[in-house]
């Protein structure tokens, strides 16, 4: 597949307030770089992410969606991320079943102490999505910027 070097993907990252969002902060205070393609949306817990959020991100122009939450066992609300894990596994599996590229979606556990992991994860995910090219299979043509 031909990779368009000029293509800059839009990445939406849903980050848990208690861990990954703080992890993003930490990577900033540590002066670590991560791609500016990543747009963070803060959520109170990764399990706040409704499948609809993910689909609507794609609809409104995202090329990749990543969800970041606390490591299993560390949820601020005890069990939220365990539910996230099941839900998101099934949803990603369904998107795969419908022929949507697997690398457009990801789930990572990033704690508040893992600034470096946050930056590395975003770096890697952005590169993966960039390699895939623009989201065409799950886009809303009306939202495409001319």
């Amino acid at each position: 597949m031909q990779v368009n070097e000029n293509f800059e993907p839009v990445i939406v990252a849903f980050c848990c307030n208690w861990c990954s969002y703080a992890g993003a902060d930490l990577s900033g205070t540590n002066r670590l770089n991560y791609p500016t393609n990543v747009k963070i949306i803060r959520v109170p817990c990764s399990c706040r992410v409704n499948p609809m959020f993910i689909l609507r991100a794609f609809q409104k122009g995202a090329d990749g969606v990543i969800i970041c939450g606390c490591h299993p066992g560390d949820c601020h609300y005890t069990s939220g991320n365990y539910f996230t894990r099941r839900r998101i596994t099934l949803l990603y599996s369904m998107l795969d079943f419908l022929g949507i590229e697997r690398n457009r979606t990801r789930l990572e556990w990033v704690s508040a102490a893992e600034g470096a992991k946050f930056a590395a994860t975003m770096e890697q995910f952005t590169a993966d999505v960039k390699a895939l090219g623009p989201n065409r299979r799950l886009e809303d043509l009306r939202c495409r910027k001319q």
């Binding site: 499948p51 609809m52 689909l55 609507r56 794609f58 609809q59 299993p72 066992g73 069990s79 365990y82 539910f83 894990r85 099941r86 839900r87 998101i88 596994t89 099934l90 949803l91 990603y92 599996s93 369904m94 998107l95 795969d96 079943f97 419908l98 022929g99 949507i100 590229e101 697997r102 690398n103 979606t105 990801r106 789930l107 299979r137 799950l138 886009e139 809303d140 043509l141 009306r142």
Partner: protein
């Protein structure tokens, strides 16, 4: 069977055990039955029908019916009892207000399959030893019974009634079914092939909402797609994205609750195999979180409201076969 059912219904009405009976009403033609509530012996004798076309699952109507006064007799086929149980579990049906009579299940017939053979002007359909004798405006036609069986019956999962107060006829067993064959076939395709398959199917959708409205698992008072405050309400798919979104979200919302009754595909005016989306979730749940049959009981926790500490990560999706 129909006579036995009418007889029993009349008895239960007469002795005051029930006030109403939900079943199926005869139509204009041989096949166009309508789910209906009967309140008298005369109505039952005149209109009640139970034949090869009474496929409609009446369990969802019990949500509305048990909100009323009095007790209702419901005739449930094995597959309907799973939906019934699931609704009990979700506190949508008042069990005290229903008297369930288990009746034998299908296979039921699909008039559209008969018509797809080019048989038109259907006046009557008779099953003679698993050969259909079809009287039409243009003469008599025959076709094998098996070729006119509804898809949902062709991959029947169970002949066992999981809920009943009494049975007419014998109870059956849970079956070894081939219901995941098509899901598996799709899984083994490439992502592009799968995408093309689903685009071809979902682009036929006219957003009539029949799949949603018939679904016994879809009992929200106000669906997110009808709620102007949800931000995603829409009356028509104005873009292919909205076709995908509706069906993904609908299937996801019933994941772990869908009993695989197959009503969604049966009612689709465009013949979209919607049950495949639900079966994909069922298959994934079975493989990743252990065998689970929604509606098999009224107490177990649904897979999506449950977890274990060593559940797999979503990366299992990446590790599977071809893309």
């Amino acid at each position: 069977m129909q006579e036995a059912m009418i007889k029993r219904a009349k008895e239960l009405l007469a002795d005051g055990s029930v006030d109403r009976v939900i079943g199926w009403k005869r139509g204009e033609f041989a096949y166009d039955i309508t789910p209906a509530v009967f309140t008298s012996a005369e109505e039952l004798e005149h209109d009640f029908v139970f034949d090869d076309f009474t496929a409609a699952n009446v369990s969802k109507y019990l949500v509305k019916e048990t909100a009323k006064e009095g007790k209702i007799l419901a005739f449930l086929k094995p597959c309907d009892t799973y939906s019934f149980n699931q609704l009990i579990k979700e506190h949508r049906i008042d069990r005290e207000k229903v008297y369930v009579v288990g009746i034998p299940g299908g296979p039921k017939l699909d008039i559209e399959k008969i018509k797809a053979k080019g048989i038109t002007g259907v006046l009557s359909v008779k099953n003679e030893d698993y050969t259909l004798k079809i009287e039409t405006l243009y003469g008599e036609e025959t076709m094998p019974f098996s070729e006119a069986v509804l898809d949902k019956c062709a991959s029947c999962k169970s002949k066992k009634h999981v809920a009943y107060d009494e049975l007419i006829g014998e109870d059956g067993d849970v079956l070894e079914s081939n219901r995941f064959d098509m899901v598996e076939k799709l899984e083994n395709m490439t992502a592009q092939e799968r995408f093309d398959f689903w685009r071809g199917q979902l682009s036929k959708c006219i957003r009539c909402n029949a799949c949603r409205n018939v679904c016994p698992a879809c009992t929200c008072e106000n669906c997110v797609f009808d709620n102007p405050k949800s931000g995603i309400d829409n009356k028509a798919a104005a873009d292919s994205f909205e076709e995908n979104m509706f069906h993904i979200i609908r299937a996801f919302h019933v994941a772990g609750r869908c009993t695989d009754c197959g009503e969604c595909s049966r009612v689709c005016p465009q013949h979209i195999p919607l049950h495949l989306l639900n079966r994909k979730f069922i298959k994934d749940i079975n493989e990743l979180y252990g065998e689970y049959q929604a509606g098999a009981d009224t107490t177990s926790r649904a897979p999506l409201t449950d977890y274990t500490k060593d559940d797999c990560e979503p990366s299992v999706v990446h590790e599977r076969g071809v893309e």
